[in-house]
Symmetry: C2
Subunit: 262 residues, 2 copies
């Protein structure tokens, strides 16, 4: 069983295209009722999470009034048997997630991470979207969704690489059947005037998190450069590798703190 | 300069104790106006973040109507010069953060991570709190705050271990000057009936994320066992190590996907 979720909400064209393309697999769509972008791995403990059912053309979905991580939790611990869940597939996100910053604050990625940290392999799909105010439709995401199916099929037959428990996949603006794939590192991101400060009519300060985001490509090999070249970027992630307890040099570094106690 | 923040809000006894203990350093307290537990690395883009000033006994603080990650962003990109920020210190959180799940969903840890991912070293402090409904006071956190000062002093003079950009520090329930310190891995966490399903008076289903959390200690060496033994747990973290792009075996694994395109 594959749990399909996202952070743009159950009615997002990104998840509709994804669910349709994965319809030949045993999928269960459990997604936030509304938009939950940039909620990170936020979890809802302070209020109950209501559930509703949504019927789409090719599939039924469960909508939860919660975050992407909530959707994974409720799916795994209540709606379905955890052992039967083979993979969490999240997306297709409206906009790329190619830096460490966007990786950890993205709800789409965090839904995938919520699976990975409890041992369920996962994939987050995100896509560059056109810079327009026009409404995006499912059609926009179809070619990427076909690639998502190809990647999920590959993972179901070949498995994940050794030590890897999450793939952060980003699609460029234009995707075709012959779009190239590259294994990447995430991009380094620079923020220029990232926070805009203003003053309200009563003289109180307030801030908008926005401003211009400048991404620095690392000589054509990182996720940013890969998307800019029109290729699909796959960043393999090993969540548990963030820990450094077993490193002897790290242990030794704390000797003074650990031993000089009276 | 040290930015002091948390996720329990600017009035939490945990941050008050921490700020007091660090008062001999050049600290700036910038914390959420209200409680922001379990918000992960959630970032506020959809509305402005209002600012107010809070005066405490020994220091002034800035309160932001946003998440812990927002506090770090506004601090680094607007309130202070990024180059002058030596460290982000977050906490002391009301309750321990010793599993991967709580690590990534904790606002306290995420504030620290928001620093780490842009190259500012950081420490997250959390503490086991008594299982009581009585109001916690600053006094409860004083011995832990003294240890926090000792750890911050150590880091300012000795630096962080090689490759480590974040320390996840957890204090046991009872802390004294002679409490032992241990370098740990985070605990494996098991959820038992983690999601509680209910039905409202109209017959609609809803869920509470709660239930019983069972933590399994790994033969006395992980963060859970360390706290249970009454020791302070320090888990060294290297955020960027989650990426596996340079691993040859990982690259090779994708050969079929990367090369068999027509």
């Amino acid at each position: 069983m594959i749990i399909v979720t996202n952070d743009d909400g159950v009615h997002s064209p990104g998840i509709i295209a994804l669910a349709k393309s994965l319809s030949e697999f045993n999928i269960k769509v459990v997604a936030p009722k509304g938009a939950q972008s940039s909620t990170g791995m936020s979890i809802t403990f302070h209020r109950p999470i209501t559930m509703s059912r949504v019927s789409k053309n090719n599939y039924d979905a469960i909508a939860l009034a919660g975050t992407p991580a909530d959707c994974v939790f409720v799916s795994i611990h209540k709606l379905f048997k955890r052992k039967k869940v083979d993979m969490i597939v999240s997306g297709i996100n409206l906009g790329e997630n190619i830096s460490m910053q966007s990786f950890f604050s993205s709800g789409t990625v965090s839904a995938a991470m919520s699976g990975s940290i409890i041992g369920i392999k996962s994939v987050a799909f995100s896509k560059v979207i056109p810079n327009t105010t026009e409404l995006l439709t499912e059609r926009e995401f179809r070619p990427a969704a076909e690639w998502a199916k190809r990647i999920v099929s590959f993972l179901l037959s070949e498995g994940f690489p050794p030590g890897v428990d999450l793939l952060n996949v980003n699609f460029p603006l234009k995707v075709t059947k012959s779009t190239k794939v590259q294994v990447t590192l995430m991009a380094k991101e620079e923020f220029e005037d990232y926070v805009v400060g203003r003053t309200d009519p009563r003289g109180n300060r307030y801030f908008w998190l926005a401003g211009d985001k400048i991404e620095a490509a690392e000589e054509g090999t990182d996720a940013y450069a890969t998307l800019a070249e029109g290729k699909i970027s796959i960043t393999p992630i090993s969540i548990s590798s963030i820990q450094r307890e077993s490193d002897r040099k790290v242990q030794d570094h704390f000797d003074k703190l650990v031993n000089t106690q009276d």
